[in-house]
Symmetry: C2
Subunit: 379 residues, 2 copies
């Protein structure tokens, strides 16, 4: 083998949680393993338990059984995955490695103690992850389609409910009072049955909706806003969907209607601005300015945040939150990125309204992957 370099890139992690490792390997492995890039070719090192599956399904140029390397490491009185990586690196006369920023410190320290130079990458380890290929966009579109269909399950469930004298919804079949968990079950049962794994689906009614991170646990009441935010991961591909709608079962008050329309207009402003070359802060500020103009400023009231106090959007891919963001922080959108546009308004004691779509940044605009109606009231 002709060697052109003494440096390599190294990842040690599992690919269930580490999107970089899934991107490098293309295969779900629940326990940590090793991936090494030398001369633009990726090598995967696997235990006997995984090596056959990796040979069949991974996207590595080379798949190796790690057993001989473990023997080398043991003979040097070293243990752990870093020692297996070290054995491989030494075999290839590599002395310097670049690793992701989230590379475990203990592994880095071990490699350094054995004479390797270890450097965390500045910025993203795979900058290409932010720009989606057409194949990745198809995966994301599929994820968003299932997400949209599961939102439809929630709408159908809420439509079938009746309203009790106490304004709490009643299940159309059991007659029982409806809680957030019942709506969540309608959504998540559909997702599970269709190859997607939900994650802390938000169903937050009334006051619960005033905290954007409250996933909701209480009764579902008529005439109050219900935020439903669904973000499942597709099991087969690892890509995520993400969308939010806000509903009122029954009649929305004029105040809630005004908030809802303002958020919808804010989202329209955001969606109309997303395209290659636009700065994230300019989008975020345009929406904030619209909210201000409509009489919904963002400010602290009695120690609580009110108004629009989260970012406008975030990238979606093998992680549910990834680059780029659309927020006050500097950043420019690029063709091929997939981002959410999800303005919201929140008022303690009253509740919240958020509407979220997922879109592909294109040269002259964006493609909306969500394509689901925005309708406040459910009869």
């Amino acid at each position: 083998m002709t060697k052109s370099t003494d440096s390599a890139r190294l990842i040690i992690s599992d690919s269930e949680h580490d999107a970089d490792m899934l991107y490098a390997s293309g295969i779900f492995v629940p326990d940590a393993f090793i991936a090494i890039e030398i001369d633009a070719e990726w090598h995967g090192l696997f235990s006997p338990l995984e090596v056959d599956r990796a040979r069949k399904n991974s996207r590595f140029s080379h798949v190796h059984l790690d057993t001989p390397l473990r023997t080398v490491a043991e003979n040097l009185n070293r243990s752990g995955l870093a020692s297996v990586a070290a054995a491989f690196l030494s075999e290839h006369a590599i002395t310097r490695v670049e690793v992701p920023g989230h590379f475990p410190l203990a592994y880095a320290d071990a490699l350094k103690s054995w004479g390797f130079k270890v450097k965390a990458s500045e910025g993203a380890f795979f900058p290409s992850r932010a720009i989606k290929s057409e194949q990745e966009i198809r995966y994301l579109a599929h994820a968003e389609k299932l997400t949209r269909q599961s939102m439809q399950q929630a709408e159908t469930y809420l439509a079938a409910c009746s309203i009790g004298d106490d304004n709490i919804l009643r299940d159309s079949q059991s007659g029982k009072k409806v809680k957030a968990a019942d709506v969540r079950r309608a959504i998540e049962t559909f997702l599970i049955g269709n190859g997607a794994m939900p994650a802390h689906t938000i169903v937050a009614c009334g006051r619960e909706g005033a905290d954007p991170h409250n996933i909701g646990s209480g009764y579902i009441r008529a005439h109050q806003p219900i935020i439903i935010d669904i973000f499942p991961r597709i099991l087969a591909t690892g890509y995520w969907g993400d969308m939010t709608r806000t509903y009122v079962k029954g009649k929305a008050t004029p105040e809630i209607k005004k908030i809802y329309n303002t958020v919808r207009e804010g989202q329209d402003i955001g969606l109309s601005m997303v395209k290659d070359g636009v700065d994230g802060p300019s989008i975020h500020q345009a929406i904030t300015a619209h909210f201000d103009n409509r009489g919904f400023p963002t400010r602290m009231v009695r120690g609580k945040q009110t108004g629009f106090f989260h970012g406008t959007g975030h990238g979606v891919g093998l992680q549910i939150h990834e680059a780029p963001g659309i927020s006050p922080r500097p950043g420019t959108l690029k063709t091929g990125q997939v981002v959410t546009v999800e303005p919201g308004l929140y008022y303690p004691g009253l509740g919240g309204v958020r509407i979220e779509d997922m879109v592909v940044v294109r040269d002259h605009g964006c493609d909306n992957l969500t394509r689901h109606k925005r309708k406040l009231e459910i009869d």
Copy 2:
């Protein structure tokens, strides 16, 4: 404030994926945040979005809004969570921090560049995590109860199936050929509906079962072993259940019956040995010796592993795989640990058999949290 130390312990991560952070905080937070222990008291630093929820629900002695610290960091031209942690540490005159082994290298490098000494903990960051409190054991027992009930769903589903002329099972309602996904749906729909999140539930029939990490995708056939391994996480507590059963719909061959009985005897040997002070390797070797004696040795056959080639068990808690292991690697069981006992036998071309229970290590034996019958054939 009287200071007794210039050192602290530091975690920067989210608590959805990092069990140490969940253990320290007692609250699920999807985005990375900061926890710092000074003088045996834990401080949590939160963004405005999370601080109210953290004040209400976390187990930190002190909850702080991170906004003023961000301002301090920005004035020093620093950014990122490590800079916020640094501002807090400096305020408390801390110069040395111990971090978990999985602490991100980039954060460690940043802290070092600002003059802090950063050291990864040797061994577990929270050794106490391996020894469960009675409260934790109740959480794990609850998780295992739901897991057992979801296994019963699978049994009921398989019992209701008919067997086609092609030996593929038929769904009792739709009449369609049954695939692994159909059995998985019966299991996971139950779990989702009861506050648990399944993770890659294994339903591996026939040849698919010969690879312990194959989650299964094909048709479910009569008269062949079906490995079902269910390991959900309880949403409210973060603790996991874990159990495995192997079934044959119809009639098992004498060979499969012999393998099944051998694995069951192996599990009995393991369960009878688990108690305080016993070495993991002695349990693993006793099971392996039994398999050898019954004519089921562990060895490579034509480049494929056959027999019993994984560990006997692993700890379960806030992670699905955690300390201690029961395997050839050195380690002694201690009262209060919760471990699986899951021997298996695997033969390429034929399939696999695995039986797994989850038990609490006690002074003179163990308490089985699974308590589910071991029965091979389903009519």
